[in-house]
Symmetry: C2
Subunit: 219 residues, 2 copies
Amino acid sequence: MFVKIGTMSNKKRNIPQDTASRLSLYLRSLRMLGKKRVDVASSEEITQFLNVTPVQFRKDLSYFGGFGKRGVGYDVARLTREIERILGTDAAWKIAIVGAGKLGSALLGYSGFDELNLQIVAAFDSDPGRIGKVRQGVRIEGASRMKEILKEKGIRIAVLAVPADSAQKVGEELAKCGIRAILNFAPVNLILPKGVSVSNVDMASELESLIYKLKGERA
Amino acid sequence: MFVKIGTMSNKKRNIPQDTASRLSLYLRSLRMLGKKRVDVASSEEITQFLNVTPVQFRKDLSYFGGFGKRGVGYDVARLTREIERILGTDAAWKIAIVGAGKLGSALLGYSGFDELNLQIVAAFDSDPGRIGKVRQGVRIEGASRMKEILKEKGIRIAVLAVPADSAQKVGEELAKCGIRAILNFAPVNLILPKGVSVSNVDMASELESLIYKLKGERA
């Protein structure tokens, strides 16, 4: 079966953030299909586990000038590579874990970063009791060495897992050290210079909201 | 210093989900102040690290009929307890981790659940290579024993950390086993019976979006 796919433009375009988020979902779906040795998939198959319609899927891909042949489907391996290229996860990115407490340690052990081509190459903490320890092959360094190490290793992405009351301060320091993207686990809305992107993950809040709903149900 | 706080109503009210989410943030802030041995705090102090105005904070508390005395402030310990009671985290909740792969294992090791009074009392996986292993004191059980164990232990909250392609199916099973709240880490929008609340955490998507922004910047 011959499947044609338009070559996606490499040019920088102004693509909505929502589209980028959905591309990330498509990628997950495509990787899953790849693991199942599916070579060609329809937009229905690709979107079946997502909260996205096949129409939206095709529309999103049209941004990049790429689409499967009508009635034939998408070449799974090729579309995977194309989306990885669009998202930038085709190349490896170095990341630092900042804060090596409970959550930071769990993240150091989370090998799911590998799948995203993310390599944890540094970890920092301000607690002398943690500095110098090696976890998952990464040595925890003191906060005082942050600037030096981040610059030296050319790290631009940081996972922030420090307590809420130091998150803003540490975030500002990271911005000064050349960090341009922060995945923030602290339950704080970081206010950082314009060039620094922040995504927030707040597990505790999500859980508390769930408990709150459960409690209401029980009352 | 005498601080008065209105006794919050115990009645079930129809409180917006956004308010519940913010209460969870206030709680974090109050716990932080408590650790710093601050006894009384103003709405400004409580909201200083949050993306919430003191006005919003006071408005949210007014839902429950509770507020500090103008110009005096809030009794940190008491307001902490009140919000815990409202959210339902004053009582311990048992949770199950479903899926003991990379992420599930990291979550089993994440002791941050303790702070929310959440006790991981069960873990499940369908991989025979994982079943029977004990991680952080919790024995990983096979999926076939899920119903029995969840019912026996009265677990109503599950953390779903299975691959995307089995998330919907496992979610449906959990609903049948009496689970009423799911924290979903799979990048899938679960469609479940009305009585089951779902909150989604998608780290990978967040990271990919960040990388995408970085890449655009570099291009």
